[in-house]
Every structure is written in C-alpha cells, then in structure tokens.
C-alpha cells in the first residue's frame, strides 16, 4: 500500500529524483567540523519555531511589550522554556554561524567553484546579526532600551547620511513606539523572508556543487 502510494506520487512529483539528489548523493569523506553548517540550520529552525510561538503572546507596543514578555515567562505553559530556547538559541546561532564560517575559511572552501555559496553565507551572517540587534529591543526592559538607544546612536556617526539612518531606525529622533514596531516588523517579517531566500540559495548551491572535501597537504 505504502509503496503504491509512493509510486503514485513519484509518477506525479518525481520525488525519488529529489530524494536521490539530496540524500543519496555521494559526499567526500569529511570530519565532524562539517556538521557546523547543519547545526546552524537546526538552531535556525529552533529560532523560527520558538519565535512563532512567542509572537502568539507578544505585543509590540511599549505599554504592553514588557508585560507580555513577563506573561510569557510566568503564565504561559512552558513559556519560560520557549523564551529560554529562543534567547539562548540566538547566542548559539551567532556562535555556530561564525564557527561555520571559520571552518570554511580554514579549508579554503570559499574558492572555486563555491564563491557564490560564500557570498550567500556572508549575507546570512549579516542577517543573523540583524536578528540579534532587532530582537534585543523587543523585551522592552532596561537592557533592551538602553542598548538599542546606544546601538542606533552609533549608526548616527556615519558621515553625511548618519542622521538619516538614525531616523529610519528609530522612526523619529527618539526611541519610541515606532522604533519598537519597526524592530518587531523587521525581526519577524523582513529578516525571516530574506533568510528563507538566502538559506534556500545556500542549500541549493551546497547540494548542486557538493560539500568541499578536506584539502590534502599538496593541494
């Protein structure tokens, strides 16, 4: 029965081809360092799942943001766990992304024919940092508020367009409800959408070109 269904679907979706291309492809012998990329992806998925759960309760206004975070932590069933996973997942994501990048540098894996994979990776690193920066404000506690005040002020020192960048980030001269709304919107819509695109491209290129092999001494 199951195999008939699988066949029926294969005739229409050609999923076996996809399966073969992704899972049955041959990969050079590699070591444990090569698991850093998939671990990064895993923590990214963890961030997406816990993040979606958090938005069910989180309210992005200065009046209620702090209370809703408190509510999530103290009242919602397993809310403390969801928030804890999201919070520590954020740090883990930064660490793993950087370690993954160092591995690629160390093995020279950014070289031909994987230059574009590298660029999508650099884009992903920037987005992870963007996630960290925008997500930091959302709990609307003292740390969040003041770190963002200082963080956005740093952007202001950019020559010529500094003040313009500051006002775009803050939605005005001061840190306000608009800032919170903007950071929230960027954190849950703009960055995730971009991340989906880049992760898709990144994975496609890895599967298409193949994982780099551990370079030998004479290479």
């Amino acid at each position: 029965m199951a195999s008939r269904l699988a066949n029926w679907l294969d005739e229409r979706l050609a999923w076996r081809q996809v399966w073969d291309a992704i899972f049955l492809r041959k990969v050079p012998k590699i070591n444990w360092l090569f698991t850093l990329g998939s671990a990064t992806l895993f923590v990214g998925v963890n961030q997406a799942v816990t993040g979606i759960l958090l938005t069910l309760y989180y309210v992005p206004t200065p009046d209620h943001a702090y209370n809703s975070v408190q509510y999530i932590t103290t009242e919602v069933t397993a809310g403390w766990l969801i928030r804890g996973l999201h919070h520590w997942g954020a740090s883990a994501l930064v660490v793993l992304t950087v370690l993954h990048m160092l591995r690629v540098i160390f093995h020279g894996a950014y070289k031909y024919p994987r230059e574009v994979t590298w660029w999508t990776g650099v884009g992903l690193l920037l987005i992870v940092i963007g996630f960290g920066f925008t997500g930091y404000l959302l709990p609307w506690d003292q740390k969040a508020y003041w770190a963002t005040t200082v963080g956005t002020r740093i952007a202001e020192v950019t020559p010529v367009i500094g003040n313009w960048i500051l006002r775009i980030m803050r939605g005005g001269e001061e840190l306000s409800a608009v800032t919170l709304a903007r950071f929230f919107g960027v954190h849950i819509w703009v960055l995730p959408a971009t991340v989906l695109l880049l992760v898709g491209a990144h994975l496609y290129l890895i599967i298409h070109i193949g994982i780099s092999a551990v370079p030998k001494r004479e290479e």
Partner: protein
C-alpha cells in the same frame, strides 16, 4: 585560477566523491547527533539559566549603563579606543572594511591552494581578527562588569516612569506648597485615578519627593541607595534625617557602615535637595508627620503668615509664656495640667483653658505626656523647648509649604458642613457622635465607636477618606464616594473627615464598645431605614440608587431576582453583596418590605377598580381595534375578556403576576412582546387593570 587548475580540481573532487559515502545515512547521522547535542545544551541553558528580564524600560533613568548583547561587546569595546571625532573610524570605517574583506575573500585569495599550510596570509589574518575579537570581548567584560544581580537601580524613577510618565511626561512642575501626597493618593484632578489603591503610602511619599526634588532622588541613589531602600527613609523622622545627613559618617547608625565622609562632599544645596526628596515640601504631609503628633490633626491657627513662620522656625524658643503660678491658684494649675494630659479627665478645666491658654494655643491642647511636666511648664512658663526648633531642621521649601498648608487648612475647616453630612449619611449607623451601636445590617454585631482618640490617631486622613469613599463591604458599609457609586463627592467626604478630626482632641466618646446596649433583633424596616434608604430614599423613591417603589421596578424583577441582587450585590455599583452581612431570612423580609413599598405608594386609591368604569374604557380605546372580530382574545365585554384567547384564560382573578393580560401589558411574557404594539400603556392605566385583577377580576 587557470582553466586547467579548475579542471584539475573538479576531477580530483569527483574522485573524492567516488571514494566518499552517501549523505544519507552516514553524514546525516553525524549532523543529527550534533544537532541533538545543541538542542540539549539549549534546553539546559533555558532550564538552568533561563532568559533574563530586567526591569521595565525606563527612559527617565539615564543612570543606567547600557550594555549590548555579548556578541556585540567587542564592537562596543573597539569604540572606546576611538573617542570623539575618531568615533566614526571604530563605528563605521573598521566594520565596513572588515565586512568588505570578508565578502571579497574569494576574489582576493584566488590561488588554487587550499591547504592551510599553503595560505599563511589568510590564515594569519583571520586568526588575528578572531583573537582580536576575543580579546576585545574579554576586555569589555573586565572593564565594565555586568551590573550586579540586585538591580537596585533608581526605584523611584522606575515607579515614576511606570505610573506617572505615561500621562505627565518626564517631569511635572508642581506649584510650591501643593499637597502632593493627597493629590497622588486621591487622584484629585481631571482623569487621574486614586493611586492609594495601587501604591503604598511610602511609594506615594517617594513619588512626591521625586517630583518636587528629582535632584535629591539622584543623590539618594548615589549616596544612600547602596544601603537604604527609599521606602525605609522617605517621610521618616525629619530630625533624624537631618542629623544623619549633616553628620554623615559620624552619625551613630553609620558607625558600622563603611562609608566615606560624604558630609564633606555634599554641598549645602545638595543637602537641601536630598531633604526635599526624603520629605517632599508638601504641607499637608509635613503637618501630618511632624506636627500632628502634638497638635492633633485639625489645624486651627488664626494669625498672620509671618507670625506663623516665626513660630514654626523658632519652635520651642518662641514660647513666650508667662509663669502662670503668679496668676493662678495651685488647684487651677493642677486642673489645667490634668486637662492638658487628658482633656476628658478634667472637663471642668475647659473654661480655664479657654480663658487663659486659648489665646495663644488656639483650641488645640498642647499635648503633654505626664502631669508633672505639664504642671511645671504651666507654672514656670517661658521657653520650654518641647517643640523642636524647626528652622534648623526644615528646608526653606518645606517650611514654606508647611506655613501655607497651616494657613489654608485653618481657614476652610468645614466642620459645620461635615456635621450636617454626618447626620444625614453616617449617624444612622455610627450614632450622632460616632459612638457606634448595634449594626442595623448585621444582627448581633456592634459598630465600634469611630470617635475615640484611639480610633482617630491610628488612622490618617487618607485611610478615613478611603473607608468613607469605598465603604467596608465586609462589615455592611456600602461605598459613599461618588467614584464608587455613592452619594458623596470628594469635598463632602473631606468635610466629614474634618469633622471627625475635630473630635480627636476632645473625643466625644471614650467608653469601650462592650458597654453599648445589647443587640436587638432587627426588622426589615429597621434595616431599610438605616441602610437601604441612604441610596434608595426613605420611601424607596430613589436617590443615587434606583427607585424601588414604582410599578416599573416591581415588574422588572421577580422576588427571586430581587433576593439575588441583594444577596450578591451589583458589581460596579455601590450595591454591595449584602448576603455577607444579612441572613437569608433578613433578605427575605427585605424583599417583602421592598415589595410593600411599591404597593403602598402606588395604590393611592384602595377603592376597588371597577370593570365597567375603569377597565372597559381602556380596553375599548386601546385593545378592541384588533382584539375583536379578528379571532384570538376578544376584548369586548366581561365574558369575552375572561374566557377567549388561544391561551385562555388570560385573566386569573386575584393573581396579576400569573395573568397573561397583565404580562402582555408589562411586556414580561416569556418570548413575547409588549401590548399594545404601539407602546406601553400609561402607568395609571396599567395600575387600574392590575388592581382590578388583584381584587378578583369582578364584573363590577
């Protein structure tokens, strides 16, 4: 990279792949293990450390040291090395260069060599960056360690931000001498809520200090906040506060504390603002805290401002009292001294006090703990320093506020008005002089006196106002404040409180509550008169509460519903749940009594309603147009009225409640509407028909 190098690489890679393993399951297995380890680590962190949450963001608290998330710390640290105009290098130039290098890496490192030993430049460069980032991060943590767990912070500023800033913005300018404590506590303006429900008295004091002396708050956080909670010190003993601030490290209680000699560091202005923070220049509060222990709570001063200033600032030194032993007999001195110690013990001395002392002391009795001191003071006169020299203790703002308050408060005492209001609203339960008595609402309960010195000295004005305004539902006192649905506005409640304060010096009641007459069983009428009538009127005509004595009311609720309303009260109104106080029998009786109100009032003509004279004209004019030949109930003639209709009979003699006719007229038919469809009949017409049914629906 040359073409042949590319080709060579691809060929070698193909070979590697051939020697390799399939992604599934070999590689995926490793990936899954690492991911699982990651997840367990995250679970562990979430469980054992959790996600931190500091205090609510407080834009007013500029003393907070901002710290970015740890992975930005290296950038933060980097900025420290590029101060001032160089900041742009650390903030923009270096990060941008680093990012460009990172992105351009495949373009810069184009050799075919991949092994790290053949790429010293890239490996060394990236190692330096990594080490640099780690070193900067460590430096940042070491130089500015994260704030200690006990987030002392600026608690009052946080309180302000949370409660006041949403409406008032970052600061409030308050005219000198405003009674800020009572404004905050009672929310006495526009849309401001009464904060005494949410904030403690200490918090309100702290807020008052913060609003009037924000600088003092900062100084407190800086110098005192490490050891002291604001709430421990605010509105404390002014003499001690002054001493502690003046003496600094020398202050007795500071002996054990390891404090620097900040009495040298703090300027005179800073001391003033610190004192203004700890005891806000709020006349009413200052009086309550510092004067009322001796002078009682009612303010009676008749003099001019400059005199008062002198009196308060000189304190005991101003007392220019004659040695009364020259003028008075020994027995008179004794009587006065006894009167001063306890006015009620020597009622005969009232006249004596009035003629010799009141000219200076007002109607206030200078309090004295024991007879000997009082006797000595009266006999010798002169400057006896019972009163502190406030001029050395108060800041000039505090002094001005106190003077203003004393002058203002002494003018509008409002005691007569309070007396009148008390008689109308309170006396039925508390007695004319607050002596208490049997609780008309709670059988067997005795209302304790509210005019004893003991009662009054243990409750401040805010408490008294709150009790009157919100009632004490547990004891059968309904709310009287208009904010809670009661009949009295804030000024009226103030007047009652002023009256009660006037008792404090000469309590009209001193006997213990046990002596009061034994409880008597209460009738529904007694309960109604004492309790219900305050809101519903003595005859149920309705005041702030709804009218109880009308047909509309009588038909609106069944007896059970009425019982339920009394039993459980109505939320959001002043109607409290009387079931807590009254027994079920009493409520039953009350329901019966209230039913009686509508009957006794609305049957001015107990004479029998006549069918032919009273009912027929109404039926003819209002019903017969439809209820005639069209079938169903026929309104034409006694026979038809009594017998026709789909649900005949529509009239049950003697029972208007069960009669369909009455129900249609009142609109109380289940799933039905109202007759006539054009609108309810006038009350008197309905009354006539109901009466006619009640009296047996005779053909008269």
């Amino acid at each position: 990279m040359k073409e042949e190098e590319k080709k060579e690489y691809l060929e070698r890679y193909e070979e590697e792949k051939k020697k390799g393993v399939p992604f599934y399951p070999n590689i995926l297995f490793k990936d899954a293990i690492v991911s699982l380890i990651m997840f367990v680590a995250l679970l562990g962190l979430a469980f054992f450390v959790g996600a931190p949450l500091e205090e609510r963001a407080n834009p007013a608290d500029t003393s907070y040291t901002p710290r970015p998330e740890w992975y930005f710390l290296f950038l933060f640290q980097l900025l420290k090395y590029f101060p001032g105009r160089l900041e742009v290098i650390g903030a923009i130039v270096l990060p941008t260069i680093a990012l460009l290098l990172l992105a351009a890496l495949p373009l810069l490192d184009r050799s075919a060599r991949r092994h790290f030993s053949s790429r010293p430049l890239v490996i060394a460069g990236s190692s330096i960056v990594v080490v640099g980032i780690i070193v900067l991060t460590v430096l940042s943590v070491v130089e500015a360690p994260p704030p200690a767990e006990t987030t002392q912070g600026d608690q009052v500023a946080a309180l302000y931000t949370e409660n006041c800033a949403p409406c008032h913005g970052p600061s409030i300018s308050v005219p000198m001498g405003t009674n800020l404590h009572s404004v905050i506590a009672l929310g006495k303006h526009e849309d401001m809520p009464a904060w005494n429900a949410d904030l403690t008295s200490d918090e309100i004091d702290a807020l008052a200090g913060f609003i009037q002396s924000p600088g003092g708050n900062q100084l407190f956080t800086q110098y005192c906040g490490d050891c002291h909670e604001v709430s421990d010190l605010v509105a404390g003993d002014l003499l001690e506060l002054r001493r502690a601030i003046d003496l600094g490290a020398e202050y007795d209680a500071h002996d054990d504390a390891d404090i620097s000699d900040w009495s040298q560091e703090i300027t005179a202005e800073q001391r003033t603002s610190l004192l203004n923070f700890l005891a806000a220049p709020d006349g009413q509060r200052l009086f309550a805290l510092n004067c009322s222990s001796c002078h009682g709570r009612s303010v009676a001063y008749s003099g001019d401002q400059s005199d008062l200033e002198v009196i308060i600032s000189q304190g005991g030194l101003h007392l220019d009292m004659p040695p009364w032993r020259d003028a008075l007999e020994a027995s008179q001195l004794d009587a006065l001294a006894r009167y001063v110690v306890d006015p009620s013990s020597e009622p005969g001395a009232t006249d004596l006090f009035a003629s010799y002392c009141a000219a200076c002391h007002g109607e206030r009795v200078p309090q004295s703990e024991n007879f000997d001191t009082a006797r000595e003071a009266i006999a010798t006169g002169g400057a006896h320093e019972l009163m502190p020299v406030w001029g050395e203790i108060l800041t000039s703002e505090q002094l001005a506020a106190l003077v203003n308050y004393t002058l203002d408060a002494a003018q509008g005492a409002g005691i007569d008005f309070g007396q009148q209001l008390f008689a109308q609203n309170c006396a039925s339960c508390h007695g004319d002089f607050g002596e208490g008595g049997p609780n008309p609402a709670l059988q067997g309960d005795i209302i304790a006196p509210i005019s004893t010195a003991e009662y009054l000295t243990t409750r401040d004005d805010v408490t008294l106002r709150a009790i009157i305004s919100q009632g004490q539902p547990n004891f059968g006192m309904s709310p009287f404040g208009s904010a809670y649905g009661g009949p009295l506005d804030d000024d009226e409640i103030d007047a009652i409180v002023a009256l009660m304060r006037s008792w404090e010096d000469n309590p009209p009641v001193e006997f213990p509550p046990e002596v009061v007459v034994p409880p008597v069983p209460l009738s529904a009428e007694d309960i109604y008169d004492a309790v219900c009538s305050q809101c519903h009127g003595p005859a149920g005509e309705g005041l702030v509460g709804p009218e109880l004595a009308g047909e509309a009311f009588a038909s609106m609720y069944s007896d059970q519903e009425l019982f339920a309303i009394i039993d459980r009260g109505r939320e959001t109104t002043a109607m409290i749940a009387w079931g807590e106080i009254l027994t079920s029998e009493q409520i039953d009786q009350l329901v019966f009594f209230i039913r009686g109100l509508s009957e006794s009032q609305d049957t001015p003509t107990p004479s029998a309603a006549s069918f032919s004279n009273d009912v027929v004209p109404i039926l003819q004019a209002k019903c017969a147009v439809c209820h005639g030949s069209l079938g169903g109930w026929n309104a034409d003639g006694y026979e038809n009225v009594m017998t026709t209709g789909d649900n005949a009979p529509v009239v049950i003699p003697g029972d208007p409640q069960e009669s369909l006719l009455a129900q249609w007229l009142l609109g109380t038919v289940p799933q039905g509407g109202l007759m006539p469809p054009s609108g309810m009949l006038p009350q008197d017409e309905i009354r006539l028909i109901l009466d006619w049914i009640a009296e047996g629906a005779l053909d008269n």
